[in-house]
Symmetry: C2
Subunit: 618 residues, 2 copies
């Protein structure tokens, strides 16, 4: 396909003409294989013989729900044997695995699809041959009675994401010519697999084979199998993950009949074909492919459809047994010495945190948390001195597999026995896998969850400060001399400044400063805690008693952030006008204050830069 | 296994006793299944009957090269049929796929391992039955002559990561009792698959079956198959990815003989057993499992080994067809309006960049770049207005699959036709997959590579500035009045300052300021560009003519960063002592300078904070 890539130059100015490489590839497949005229339209059922041999549609559905379509992707055709895997999955969920697995085997038969031979226990070899598929229809009829077909039709519709109809002419033709299947059905009743009225079972089966689908439908149905049973377009969970993996298993070992070994060897993507001309292929966690072209080869598989599958697998090296991934997905592993929270700490708190920074370890993970990833992380934990808190920063974790979730939860249990608190931050806990982690860990006292990393770090810092006897909010700081912005000023200068100000009190949640307002005063916090937040709600800093806020008024005429009281708060407000006058009278004090301001900004800049360097380290 | 997790409380203070969940699980498996005494030691070869039925070893090798071991994991036993997949892979690479695939089929036989039946073309059904394995040994002997066995022994050693020996007693016993295999071999010569002397071929085969391995060896050998043919412990590429995926295919369809369909259905991990009591299982991109317990079931598979495989698959839901991953791995998608480079820009440059910030789009990706991920990214590109530069920030990309690499390269080709430059940053281009991207893109003029994101952004910014007529380095800035640090000072004040300074010139690469030196002067850059770098070599800023450097001397007594000339540079140096004296004489100018410094620091802080906010956005 390589040759088919260069896009026409004339597009150079039409950005909308940009195509994803996959679309170009599928276009090229359609063009290259349209010329392929080998094979013949199935005619053992007269109605099938009426199909237009030139029809050719390709569709590929991704697991994020995007559907590529090329050619006659909306042309309807009868699903035929492509219904087998879906009805088997439906049977597993409807009647329970034990019931179904005791009636139908899972070993390849090595025979053609319409073989009448049964296995050693007189059961069908597997659900992909007619005998097994008829047995599935029979089982569903046992459970659903006369509503069985409607039950199946609606289920197939959920796989496809739309209501599916029936080709009555093909159905009539199927039942008129279905003697071999009748023979198979009576064999099954003879061996006790079918208890029901054979003709009623076969009506369900023949109707099921006559359901109309398109290449697009086939792609979405396959993608639902590739996506853990969740239809990626509608988001509906159609069948259980168990049913999906077992269905893909029989597709792998028996999906392409006596061509199965060759198929997994060469293409390596679970697939199912139908004599109607359809082929669907489901690559787990990747894609669903559907194609329609009625010319069949000697195995009863669509000639062009096979070529599309082979080309896709070869060009992108998608053989399911050819996976390579990296176990290392820890992208940062540091302690609060490297990245503190945005809470401004007073000197004695800083001292405690400085000497105990190793007690809070932060591990940032990315990508998908797989069995390998989480095991790797687990092994890293013991390597460093024991922290009291481990924060797992999961902002960049796109998803977690069931194996990863299980290992994660087991790891938290392990930590519980060492009195280590595990803190999750940034998890999107909506997915079913996260629910597993939750289930397993909600009983644990050592697991906490903070949406924001900074909150997690601040909480852990507070625990450390408490443990080592540092009070957090209690203290009142009334002495202006302790205000870093005023460091180095003389007693009278401080006294005069104090006399210029007014003591204000604010209740919890009250907005003290609002963005874009003119900046007309600055504040010295005496008690309580305030938050500085940017428009958009991002917290820039948490400020405790003894620190100034609104001090940027010394540089800017307008407020660039909100300041909100966390709890009831008292502060000394000094009007900018008074402050300016004070600086006029004491130029050296004014310079000193500016120097202090520059110093405070320089310290914050160093902290911010080290955070940026940490976050952007290669 | 869940019950087995709580770790003893007494460990609470012994951090070293912390175990990874996977180790606890394997310990529990060993304990739980040791009591299992069903099955019997193979005795069709007298020597095998001498094995201790109680031996039980488990080993699991991860794809990052860590090896778990439990029980008798170092107990040697003969490899027997476990040699078949590895010798098949070796044959594929040694003689070429066409040659091997024309002599040996890949369809399951449905027969026991020692079946004498051949397929329709009188060829062995597949390489996992004795007939196919003997054919493999014959093919290798064709290629390697009398050195064939040594060639095989050394290859097996590369899979295991150590030299492997032979159990001569078992070998003697095998050849003394190997009549059925002789019959098979003569059948193969009769059908032309073996051209060689049958006895010489069988000596190779019998010796190959008598090679001594341990559970640990088996795990590493399996992990090499799971890891694309690269031994995860030694890092050696033992066989090609093609040979690996095809070998895993036949293991999947035929690895467990007539139990194969059941095996993939229930366990879903490609595996191979041997009558010596070993079982190995290879889960692609995840792990290799090896177990040793000589008690065999009726299929000739180790009873405890099967239980271990089943428990591992069930407990961690590792069925290979039960994969779930998320396609979305774009974690940031922004333009330089949100995050500019660390180059300090002069006002006219700032204006150009402000009005064209959409021309440089930055897309940050994480985790493993798979088929799904890259396709998703490709589809996002057309969505926004067309940029001139797209920077792919790959710092957090752990690895890329071949499919991902291919799609990425194809996407760059597509961009080339739209005159969009693709810039890779932060790639570790060592892996074979990155070499594919390189191969495909080195011919393209629109792909550039920068190790550091900031360099990539700065380069793109420069292109934008050039395009819109803004000069970069050329200009000489001699006027102190244009120095932001001195903004607002009067003419005489500036003149006096100028008179205090000395004009210095530095050659490219010269270090002007060194970290930890006392800070005794500040500089005003008149021409050229300097870099400010932290001790770790991290670039903090790039400074162009018209800006100050070393100005932090006004706050700190020591230098906290290096400043190095990028090119030949001229600057006005003002000694701190002189500067302090100047400020003594002009307190208001001094205050103004401090205010300017605070203003500059505030601007940098805002930039740094917005970068932190961008990088930590959930």
């Amino acid at each position: 396909m390589n040759s088919s890539h260069p896009a026409p130059r004339r597009h150079a100015n039409d950005w909308a003409a940009l195509k994803s490489p996959l679309r170009r590839f599928l276009d090229a497949c359609h063009a290259d294989f349209s010329v392929e005229t080998g094979g013949a339209v199935a005619n053992y059922i007269p109605e099938l013989g009426k199909a237009d041999p030139n029809h050719f549609g390709i569709s590929l559905a991704t697991i994020d729900g995007y559907v590529y379509e090329v050619g006659d992707s909306r042309e309807p055709f009868t699903i035929q044997s492509m219904s087998k895997p879906f009805v088997f999955a439906l049977a597993l969920d409807t009647l329970g695995a034990d019931h179904v697995e005791s009636a139908i085997g899972v070993e390849p038969s090595g025979d053609p699809f319409n073989s009448i031979r049964l296995d050693a226990n007189n059961h069908p070899f597997n659900p992909m041959v007619n005998a097994g598929a008829i047995a599935c229809s029979a089982l569903i009829r046992e459970a659903e009675g006369d509503g069985a077909f409607e039950y199946i039709r609606q289920a197939l519709g959920r796989f496809a994401g739309r209501e599916l109809g029936v080709d009555e002419a093909v159905f009539a033709s199927e039942s008129a010519t279905g003697d071999r299947n009748r023979a198979i059905a009576y064999m099954l009743r003879n061996s006790g697999v079918i208890k029901d009225d054979v003709s009623k079972v076969l009506e369900v089966y023949f109707r099921q084979c006559s359901v109309l689908v398109t290449a697009r439908d086939s792609a979405v149905m396959a993608a639902t199998l590739a996506n853990h049973g969740i239809n990626p377009v509608t988001g509906e969970q159609v069948v259980t993950p168990y049913a999906v993996s077992r269905t893909l298993s029989v597709m792998t070992s028996s999906g392409m009949y006596d061509y199965a070994g060759e198929w997994i060897y060469r293409v390596g993507i679970p697939a199912k074909s139908g004599v109607g001309g359809g082929i669907l292929a489901a690559l787990p966690a990747r894609l669903g492919l559907g194609s329609y072209s009625p010319r069949l080869d000697s195995h009863g598989n669509s000639v062009r459809g096979i070529k599309v599958c082979e080309a896709l697998s070869a060009h992108y090296d998608l053989h399911m047994l050819n996976r390579s991934e990296d176990a290392h997905n820890i992208i940062a592993d540091y302690d609060i010495g490297k990245s503190a929270s945005r809470r401004s700490r007073r000197p004695h708190e800083q001292k405690i945190l400085a000497s105990h920074h190793r007690d809070v370890r932060i591990i940032e993970l990315v990508g998908t948390l797989t069995f390998s990833n989480v095991d790797y992380v687990s092994r890293q934990l013991a390597e460093k001195p024991r922290p009291h808190f481990i924060i797992f920063d999961l902002r960049r974790v796109a998803s977690v597999t069931r194996a990863g979730a299980r290992l994660l939860a087991e790891g938290f249990r392990e930590l519980a026995h060492f009195n280590v608190t595990a803190i999750l931050s940034g998890t999107k806990r909506s997915s079913p896998e996260w629910k597993i982690v939750a289930e397993w860990t909600d009983t644990l006292s050592n697991v906490r969850n903070f949406p924001l990393l900074d909150d997690a770090i601040e909480w852990a810092e507070d625990q450390i400060v408490y443990r080592h006897g540092g009070a957090i909010e209690a203290v009142e700081m009334t002495e202006l001399s302790e205000q870093p912005l005023l460091a180095g000023l003389g007693a009278e200068e401080l006294a005069q400044l104090a006399s210029l100000g007014t003591i204000r009190t604010y209740h919890a949640g009250e907005k003290i400063i609002a963005t874009t307002e003119p900046a007309t005063s600055l504040y010295f916090l005496r008690s309580g805690v305030v938050h500085v937040t940017l428009p958009g709600g991002i917290r820039l800093a948490t400020i405790a008693a003894g620190m100034p806020f609104g001090e940027m008024a010394l540089l800017e005429g307008h407020r660039s952030a909100d300041v909100v009281a966390d709890q009831s708060v008292t502060a000394l407000e000094v009007l900018l006008a008074d402050f300016e006058r004070f600086r006029e009278q004491h130029p050296r004090a004014g310079e000193r204050i500016m120097r202090n301001l520059a110093q405070m900004l320089a310290d914050r800049l160093i902290a911010a830069n080290s955070k940026v360097n940490l976050l952007t380290a290669t």
